[in-house]
């Protein structure tokens, strides 16, 4: 692949998804576009890019963006966020949202493990929210991931990362060489497409937002914009959960870190007034 083609794909990703692809990621581009080229019946990546550039077919452009996303995720990833949910967030919201409901958003949910982890956790201990009903919404830019998330179908490898065997036994059934999460868990979660760089999110208001391991692909200003829009979707007293290596500090004033809770942020009160 020549550097012009690389530049073209990098631009496309940036414009469509906010994802910054640096020159050292050439290998990533090749390993991910090759299967798509094959699927399209094209002899090489160069041909694929040529077709994308000349025909400008929306369907194919969307697929290039889709396969270029990194979708790594696993059940109960990093553990701490789920501990924070149990110990800090739910006890507070169970009080604050009594008589109403708690809405949780997994922004950039990939194949759904994060959303389903929350669903299983709530199912195992129904006292967590003191009877307040919970709604979980998972969104991603990748249709491929969303489809898998909706089906709730996981490989043997995926169900062995982060998922205790007792939960596998309780919530999954075997389907050929895959494992499918129960209908009941699937009904607790709704999956929708949402590009985080879109100017508006049509998802309603949330009390808890998981936004983990996606900001890291964006440049500084985009991170700030996305966090600002997320803040705009949050109810007063809401919580934001970022990935283990991520922070709002220096990026957005809309949130402040919760004391002694790594990766947990509270919506800053002045940002509620501003919104």
């Amino acid at each position: 692949m020549n550097s012009q083609d690389f530049e073209f794909v990098a631009q496309l990703l940036r414009k469509r998804a906010g994802i910054v692809l640096t020159g050292d990621k050439m290998y990533l581009l090749e390993s991910r576009l090759a299967p798509l080229a094959r699927k399209e019946g094209l002899p090489s990546i160069d041909d694929l890019i040529h077709v994308v550039r000349s025909r400008r077919e929306e369907r194919l452009i969307a697929q290039v963006v889709d396969v270029m996303t990194t979708n790594e995720t696993y059940f109960f990833r990093d553990k701490t966020p789920f501990l924070n949910l149990r110990e800090a967030i739910f006890p507070q919201l169970a009080q604050a949202r009594r008589g109403s409901r708690i809405r949780i958003w997994c922004a950039a949910c990939s194949t759904g493990q994060e959303a389903y982890s929350i669903a299983m956790m709530l199912d195992q201990d129904t006292s967590l929210t003191g009877g307040v009903p919970v709604e979980i919404v998972g969104t991603d830019i990748s249709d491929r991931c969303l489809e898998r998330a909706r089906q709730g179908l996981f490989t043997q490898f995926e169900v062995q990362r982060g998922l205790p065997i007792q939960m596998l036994m309780h919530y999954f059934t075997q389907q050929d060489d895959h494992w499918r999460i129960s209908e009941r868990m699937r009904q607790m979660v709704t999956f929708k497409k949402q590009n985080l760089i879109d100017a508006q999110y049509g998802l309603g208001q949330f009390d808890i937002v998981f936004c983990r391991n996606v900001l890291t692909y964006f440049d500084g200003p985009t991170k700030g914009d996305v966090l600002g829009r997320i803040a705009g979707t949050m109810n007063s007293g809401g919580f934001l959960i970022l990935g283990a290596t991520e922070t709002t500090s220096g990026i957005s004033q809309a949130f402040e870190p919760a004391q002694d809770r790594r990766g947990l942020y509270k919506l800053a009160e002045r940002s509620v007034q501003a919104a």
């Binding site: 043997q156 065997i165 007792q166 059934t173």
Partner: protein, 121 residues
């Protein structure tokens, strides 16, 4: 240092598993069947056992039941690691006193994830 007994009749699997658990800072011992494993446990209980199911002489599930009847045999954390990947085998293992269950093929991430599930790492 914690000690992990690796029980598998395949030398290759034992070697791969040994490398992984050593990376997780365990001392590794090996046994090629359930009887060897039981003998080893009688000499000294390990902290963890990574246990295959199908082996000659004594299989994994018989070893596990025997281990749990030994004095001090309730202490080792037993993680099955087998190609038996259906729910009935998993359920039988858990009923017989296993702590976790790995379906082969495994890699270092799965072992680390499962070991952390049972508080070994």
């Amino acid at each position: 240092m914690k000690r992990c007994l690796i029980v598998d009749d395949s030398r290759v699997v034992r070697k791969v598993a040994r490398r992984i658990v050593e990376d997780l800072r365990f001392d590794a011992d090996e046994a090629a069947d359930g009887q060897q494993a039981l003998d080893s446990c009688r000499r000294g209980m390990p902290d963890a056992v990574l246990l295959d199911w199908n082996m000659p002489v004594m299989n994994g599930i018989d070893f596990l039941r025997a281990l749990r009847r030994e004095p001090g045999g309730d202490r080792p954390v037993v993680v099955f690691c087998t190609t038996e990947n259906d729910m009935s085998h998993i359920a039988e293992a858990m009923r017989s006193g296993a702590n976790e269950y790995i379906m082969k093929p495994f890699d270092s991430e799965i072992i680390e994830s499962k070991f952390s599930e049972v508080g070994l790492v």
